[in-house]
């Protein structure tokens, strides 16, 4: 599953950078298929559907943390990719994806600052990515759950559709960070509010297992991060479109 690993990998990556360069990012979308059950769900995004059908503005706010970005390459992180792909798919409407970073904040800390954060903003859709910081600090899962629950309620009251994104699959730190309680609780909150959960953890694990990406890689380069985020952007846009029950072909 990670047969290309080892000292040779460095050379391959180097060669890849020189030879393939920018082509890599574009090819990546094809090498990172996501099983359809990870991209579909029963919950709906009525406000997103309305915005697109009425040809208005689709204002998306990504409420994220460090793993919503790539340090030196903001535009190639998944929120940027999401914007590019959605604009491409729905040329007739205005699509804006903005990113609100909440680095090193637990769900509870983010929730308590939500009122201030949402002031003057009217997003159609809020994509809330959380869980990693809570897992690192091993916050009580019950507290985590009620914080996410409260946050989702607040966002819905502010008039937005909500999608939750769970933590990344990170095999290197698996022995150090215990993710399962946080993944379970996010799923529970999503079920309870009947909102879509973008299962980033399962998707990335799928890529790692199938050999699309070597997420064990100790590589210091930025290429892997860019490719993964590009694929996440693609998967997320498909997920949003599926949850809004839209057929993009009709919109063009």
């Amino acid at each position: 599953m990670r047969a290309n690993f080892g000292p040779i990998l460095g050379l391959i990556v180097l060669a890849g950078i020189f030879a393939a360069g920018s082509a890599r990012g574009e090819d990546a979308a094809e090498s990172c298929d996501v099983p359809s059950y990870l991209l579909t769900n029963e919950s709906a995004l009525p406000k997103v559907a309305d915005a697109i059908k009425s040809g208005g503005t689709l204002e998306v706010l990504v409420l994220g943390s460090r793993s919503s970005t790539i340090a030196t390459s903001e535009a190639s992180a998944y929120p940027g990719r999401l914007q590019a792909i959605l604009r491409d798919r729905f040329p007739s409407i205005k699509v804006n994806v903005s990113l609100e970073l909440q680095p090193k904040k637990t769900a509870e800390e983010v929730t308590s600052g939500l009122a201030k954060l949402m002031e003057g903003k009217k997003p159609t859709l809020v994509i809330w990515q959380t869980g990693t910081v809570d897992a690192i600090r091993s916050v009580d899962p019950d507290d985590f759950r009620s914080a996410v629950d409260e946050g989702v309620t607040a966002l819905q009251n502010a008039g937005a559709d909500v999608i939750l994104i769970n933590p990344q699959y990170s095999p290197r730190t698996e022995t150090m960070i215990s993710m399962p309680p946080y993944l379970d609780n996010m799923r529970a909150v999503a079920q309870q509010h009947d909102i879509p959960l973008f299962d980033r953890f399962a998707i990335m694990r799928q890529w790692n297992d199938s050999g699309d990406f070597d997420l064990f890689s100790a590589s210091h380069g930025i290429e892997l991060a860019k490719r993964v985020h590009d694929c996440l952007g693609h998967a997320l846009s498909e997920f949003v479109i599926a949850a809004a029950h839209l057929d993009p072909a009709q919109q063009n």
């Binding site: 599953m1 990670r2 047969a3 290309n4 690993f5 080892g6 990998l9 059950y37 990870l38 029963e42 943390s65 460090r66 793993s67 790539i70 340090a71 030196t72 680095p103 090193k104 990693t132 910081v133 690192i136 600090r137 091993s138 916050v139 009580d140 899962p141 019950d142 759950r145 990344q168 990170s170 095999p171 290197r172 730190t173 698996e174 022995t175 150090m176 960070i177 215990s178 309680p181 379970d184 609780n185 799923r187 529970a188 079920q191 309870q192 399962a202 070597d214 997420l215 064990f216 890689s217 100790a218 590589s219 210091h220 380069g221 930025i222 892997l224 991060a225 993964v228």
Partner: protein
């Protein structure tokens, strides 16, 4: 986590553990070993639990699909804590009867100290691993996850908190739980000798209060103990209660077909629910109300569904694996039994091997095959070390009679 018996406590125990040999033969339930014979089923299943814990601590691979937690609510931890309670009560209960409360308490504390030292040893290894990862791993994709290394900035606080058992990295939660349970063992045994049923009821009451008022032990830098001793004590005390005669009294209930069918039905239902975790396409088949009621199934506080799952498993196991089951003498199961007999050593080794295996996988890479080879060699190493320890104890303890699996000095319960 696991091992209970005090080495000095053993030789007298081995010769005097004659409790109701007739009951042992007649009742399919867990019962005391007959004279001179050790309850090999305890060793067998504790050994099995050790293997499963080791495999579960490695990154998921082929063998992971063989572990218990994929097929129901409870996992190897439940087996371990229960058997630990059982053997601890058995060994130290006897010691308390023979040598009195004070001496038995001293022996228990000595054992708790050994487990503590083992925990600190494992923590040192963990520290080495995490420091290495921190200094060598800078994948920009995971800069957020690297926040886990922040504690390295304050080694003084971290190490003191670790010594106080308040800072416990992932996979190192079991020994602290075990230490706490051992510290309370003298009290539990003292109460048990007074009135076993009342003790069990007190334990259930503590469990209920823990759930009702959400009691927990805090951890460092924040959070809580991943295995809440206030809840998990229920399994430990239940094990002790079984060892001190409860199992014998329950044997009629345990062997009744009604119990067996209920257990089987519950295990099947749990299996179906578990299936929806791994085959998410089936997720929608689960009624919404059931999900609302059931989730989350809490491991920290030993969810009642997990406890019930363990009970159902245990009921079926004691029925289908009677204590006179010939397979227990089979050379094929001998490695498992040996591992179970030296559980503290093998548990620690397992945690270490899981760290090491993870390290090899990360550094060398390689596919599913290497993964499989690492899991397998880990288990082989555990067996080999268990065999060496066993051999050494035979050789060192010349006065002990040398016969089969039962001849070992630390057999009667713990080792």
């Amino acid at each position: 986590m696991t091992s209970i018996a005090d080495r000095i406590a053993q030789p007298p125990v081995g010769t005097t553990d004659a409790i109701a040999p007739a009951a042992a033969a007649a009742a399919p339930a867990i019962s005391f070993p007959a004279v001179g014979e050790r309850e090999l089923r305890l060793d067998l299943f504790r050994g099995l639990a050790l293997w499963l814990i080791f495999i579960d601590h490695l990154p998921p691979n082929l063998l992971t699909w063989l572990t218990l937690r994929n097929y129901g609510f409870s996992d190897a931890t439940e087996i371990f804590i229960f058997i630990s309670g059982y053997t601890a009560a058995f060994v130290y209960g006897r010691a308390m009867e023979q040598a009195g409360f004070v001496v038995a308490t001293a022996r228990i504390l000595r054992r708790a100290w050994q487990i503590y030292v083992a925990h600190v040893f494992l923590f040192t290894i963990f520290l080495a691993e995490i420091s290495y990862v921190a200094s060598s791993f800078e994948n920009p994709l995971y800069s957020e996850e690297m926040g886990i290394m922040d504690f390295l900035k304050q080694p003084d606080v971290t190490i003191v908190q670790a010594l106080l058992l308040r800072f416990r990295p992932v996979n190192m939660d079991v020994l602290p739980l075990y230490i706490v349970l051992m510290l309370f063992l003298p009290l539990i045994l003292w109460l048990m000798r007074w009135k076993a049923d009342v003790t069990l009821m007190l334990s259930v009451a503590l469990y209920a209060i823990t759930w009702k008022y959400d009691l927990y032990l805090t951890a460092y830098p924040n959070g809580y103990w991943a295995f809440n001793p206030l809840a998990w004590q229920l399994l430990f005390v239940f094990g002790a209660w079984c060892a001190l005669g409860g199992a014998r009294r329950m044997s009629a209930i345990l062997s009744s077909p009604v119990t067996l069918w209920i257990s089987a039905a519950y295990l099947f239902a749990a299996f179906c629910v578990t299936l929806t975790w791994y085959v998410p396409q089936l997720g929608h088949m689960l009624p919404h109300w059931l999900e609302q009621w059931m989730y989350p199934i809490d491991k920290t506080d030993l969810d009642v569904l997990r406890f019930a799952h363990f009970l159902a498993l245990a009921a079926l196991t004691v029925h289908f694996v009677p204590s006179n089951w010939p397979g227990l003498k089979s050379p094929w199961l001998r490695p498992l039994i040996l591992c179970g007999q030296h559980s503290l050593e093998i548990f620690c080794l397992g945690v270490f091997l899981a760290f090491a295996g993870h390290f090899v996988l990360a550094e060398v890479g390689g596919g599913a095959l290497l993964h499989f080879v690492i899991s397998l060699s880990g288990i082989l190493i555990m067996c080999a070390v268990a065999w060496v320890i066993s051999w050494y104890k035979h050789a060192a303890d010349k006065s002990a009679p040398r016969k089969g699996a039962g001849g070992n000095a630390d057999m009667a319960g713990g080792g």
